[in-house]
Assembly symmetry: C2
Homo-oligomer: 341 residues x 2
């Protein structure tokens, strides 16, 4: 059964050997309810004996529908992308769906054509798009135009629930910064993410809301911008620490930049958390890996991915599938009361 070179058995082989029509075999495959139990068992026996597996290309052709989900992303954060992939795989495990991935360069001048070609060629059932690409409404319009179902992943409301999985980054950050304030910090810096990222904006707002609620300063001298990379985290951290009145705590908009801040603090002879408290965002592997272990806000990527995939697989129930996912504060060892408390 199934040795090299042997042609794979088809529905016709099954039909012939079990003495029924191919339509009946088709009914067995598709679990049609109106089927004699005896017939079903007979056909199933032959299927097992032959090791028959329906050809998904033929199915796709007949059904005018391809059981393939696509994933489009351009993200510097490997762990986040992989977590998302695994969430999708959780959802399609033991189903006939497959996941095809499509990393792109968001700065490429041919990005739109590239994505259009991808969708048109593969005739996907649906596509999931990750931030920051997901924040661009033009892509949603493109998917609509191509008649391709989609789910956007975002850090805030981006679309109606059927086409969205969303985390509450703003609240998560607000809560984290409130913890710093509760510990006694008064000058709390922000290393914000790159311009044009909704996640960067939301996390900035979370920081701002926490400070403003307590009447604490949140002026420009407490803000430095990075681009979600380690190097820019270092640069932004350095800019904040070199100010005349440096912050006693810094919230960085992702873990990698927080690691950069920790790094540059150490270069300046500062001890984290004694001389500087640091909080990140994501709770990717790096958070537990660096020294000291990083206090952060967990982003429930895998869960979001699972729901995104399920929205595409069951479009009729997409609205009932969860769309909003709370973040979670993860206290570790990179924060403490300020030294001159």
């Amino acid at each position: 059964m199934g040795r090299t070179g042997e042609a794979k058995p088809t529905i016709n082989d099954v039909a012939r050997l079990s003495g029924v029509s191919k339509k009946t075999v088709s009914r067995v495959i598709n679990r049609s309810p109106l089927l004699n139990d005896a017939t079903r068992e007979k056909v199933e026996a032959v299927i097992a004996q032959l090791g028959y597996v329906p050809n998904p290309q033929a199915r796709a052709l007949a059904l005018r529908r391809n059981f393939v989900l696509g994933m489009i992303y351009d993200n510097p954060n490997a762990q986040m992308v992989l977590n998302f992939q695994e969430g999708v795989l959780d959802a399609i495990r033991d189903s006939e769906y497959a996941l095809v991935i499509h990393p792109v360069d968001r700065h490429s001048p041919t990005l739109f054509d590239n994505i259009r070609r991808f969708i048109e060629q593969q005739r996907l059932s649906g596509v999931m798009i990750l931030p920051p690409l997901s924040e661009n409404d033009a892509f949603a319009a493109l998917f609509d135009e191509l008649g391709c179902n989609y789910v956007r992943m975002g850090s805030a409301e981006l679309a109606d629930p059927a086409h969205l999985v969303q985390s509450n980054d703003r609240e998560g950050v607000r809560e984290a910064v409130e913890c710093l304030i509760a510990e006694g910090h008064r000058r709390i810096g922000l290393v914000e993410g790159p311009e044009g990222f909704r996640s960067a904006y939301e996390r900035h707002q979370g920081w701002r809301e926490a400070l403003e609620a307590q009447g604490l300063p949140c002026d420009a001298s407490l803000i430095a911008r990075g681009s979600y990379t380690f190097e820019t985290g270092k640069e932004a951290g350095a800019a904040l620490l070199d100010r005349d009145d440096p912050p006693t705590a810094i919230f960085a908009s992702n873990d990698v930049m927080a690691a950069g801040v920790v790094h540059v603090a150490r270069e300046r002879g500062l001890d984290v958390p004694r001389d500087l408290s640091v909080i990140g965002f994501d709770d990717t592997a790096i958070a537990a890996t660096i020294w000291p272990p990083l206090t952060t806000v967990r982003w429930p990527i895998r869960t979001m991915a699972r729901s995104a995939a399920r929205k595409l697989i069951h479009p009729e129930a997409a609205n009932r599938e969860q769309s909003r996912f709370p973040t979670e504060f993860v206290p570790r060892a990179s924060t403490s009361r300020p030294a001159q408390g």
Copy 2:
């Protein structure tokens, strides 16, 4: 062209509008050489006007061949998996191929059936399998049985060149450990990878060969085992540092475990590299991210992935495609001469 709800144009539409048969259109699509230039141009004009894209499912059905590459892995290292994915995408960009991914749990009792189902269902052109799964000959046998082309990725010779991309981990590690010896280290520890991983074995051997060539000790008291994770790196590092005569340098079989060693050294009040030199393997993002920046050995994953994909896309030229890929020593700041020279 292509608005929602509109049926996609088919080869029949193109044939009708250009006044030729569908076979002629098919010839245009497939760049058949025996075609009148005038006819070709006429058909191409209609194709462009209609925005016609051939249906890959129908193609796959007619050709009995699916233009899809698969990737099977179970690896704790996110960056390595993602690098591999991007290498594959480099190779299939602007082609009709797509990449479907299939993460698995190598400890699952149903692993074999799972992979078999994946291959049989998707009817892949070929599949790439990553370590440690790639080191299991039984999978190669399974792919042969299923008539599915494959390429194994490994840290040593695993198969003939047509089915293999391979790095020279042993030499890379030997070179790195030789650098430690040249700096004056005499007791050099090894945090080795998990049992059953070929990469772990090869890196172990590289360490051993470097030491033995200089007549230095490489007994069991200098070896601790981890499982390529941060936590086990910490445990193994602690085991080595708690010995009566601890090593002045440690080679860890991957970057994540090296980060664990650095972590635990710091917990014991040791300065890296002053009191302990550390070298990792991989050169993933974490190497440049931790403090101090980690000296390591770069593993050319992306390049290997590119070649792996090309071997599957052009099986007839698979032997001419590169199969062996050298690692590269990447000196950073986690090594120095030993304190008590």
